[in-house]
Symmetry: C2
Subunit: 227 residues, 2 copies
């Protein structure tokens, strides 16, 4: 079954999924990389993101791999795609990830500013969606076919999709990191009221992994075209 | 060295350390016991709190035991002591824990309503402090001598002591539980700005344990008599 999912999002002790002062040098914000301490050493991240051999296997890697498995399309917020703000000055920014990004499927970038699609190496393509989160989800579902749509982030994008009742499953990694400030992932969002419950967990020395799923009874909430 | 510490506080995926609708039946709020799922099976909790033999050993138990070790006095919020609100109608409420509470040292209860001290079995005594958190800490320090003062909770009490810069060390257990609403432990408190950093962590299948410590450089903040 095709689902809409959020995967591999680190959460700090104080509830932040990105640190303060995001920039070209600190795409995850100051202190943000500590949220992904569980992920960086895994085989999945080493191979898919860093293009390196080796890497650790085990529960942390299993969760990293699940995030990529059966994913047919991604949705990314503008800031996750890059540090450029406002209208695109030119087409030179092509994402943080080099010529061969780790997606290998279509990725839909939310933006207020139109831009032509880009075809990258390895099967990734970036498409710029200017008419909102529901439109982006419709296009991503069509592209994904029978596979899943993964909401890649950042925090603001994930919060919008959660609050609109559009996410079926959320995997979070509670990380041993203190950020003090940054972007709160769940502040002000009552996931219980939205129909979520914790359906799976697995603790490792590096993170407490939790999977939140939306109860079937709650699935009658806003459909993709409802907002 | 005597320190002021917070220990064994469970935190939900969404940042709550107590569930909603606390009552006589739900002293931790609805859903709150899930925050302590890591603790209930431990040998320390089984023996000290439930008076039972056996219980599990290991990292979870080590953290539970640390919370009691070298503790010379406790500070408890009114709601942690009991569900009675407003002026004490009589002396019949003597805590949640029966005749022999698990403290075995003096415990100072914050309240706006005077009440005479109570001597319980096993060395626990309850003292009711009506002149604020700094006064309670002074009395607790005097009672503890060379041992530590543990801020037992609940959430509002811990937050007050954190915001006043009076806590040296905080042990939290990030739990695989979703509460939706309740009492946020750290919402609106910038622990990094207050001088804390994550100095220790240990993940188990039941919780991610983190220890936050205040840097020495930050220890010039409000002294016990400064507020």
């Amino acid at each position: 079954m095709s689902i809409v999912k959020v995967c591999c999002v680190g959460v700090s002790v104080d509830g932040f999924s990105a640190g303060p002062r995001q920039s070209l040098e600190n795409p995850l914000g100051v202190g943000g990389p500590a949220l992904m301490g569980w992920a960086f050493p895994t085989r999945t991240m080493q191979q898919k993101v860093f293009g390196a051999a080796g890497g650790e296997t085990g529960i942390d890697d299993d969760f990293a791999a699940r995030g990529f498995a059966n994913t047919g399309a991604w949705i990314l917020g503008r800031n996750m795609f890059g540090p450029v703000r406002g209208p695109w000055p030119d087409d030179s920014w092509r994402g943080w990830w080099g010529d061969n990004p780790p997606y290998h499927v279509p990725a839909f970038v939310l933006t207020h500013h139109p831009r032509a699609s880009i075809e990258m190496a390895g099967g990734t393509s970036f498409h710029f969606v200017t008419d909102g989160i529901h439109a982006a989800l419709e296009r991503a579902r069509a592209a994904a076919g029978t596979r899943d749509v993964r909401i890649g982030g950042g925090v603001a994008t994930i919060r919008q999709y959660l609050q609109a009742g559009l996410v079926d499953e959320v995997h979070l990694a509670l990380a041993p990191a203190l950020l003090g400030s940054g972007e709160s992932l769940l502040g002000g969002i009552d996931l219980t009221a939205l129909g979520y419950e914790c359906t799976e967990h697995a603790g490792t020395p590096s993170a407490m992994h939790v999977v939140l799923s939306r109860r079937a009874a709650a699935s009658g909430a806003p459909p993709p075209s409802g907002g």
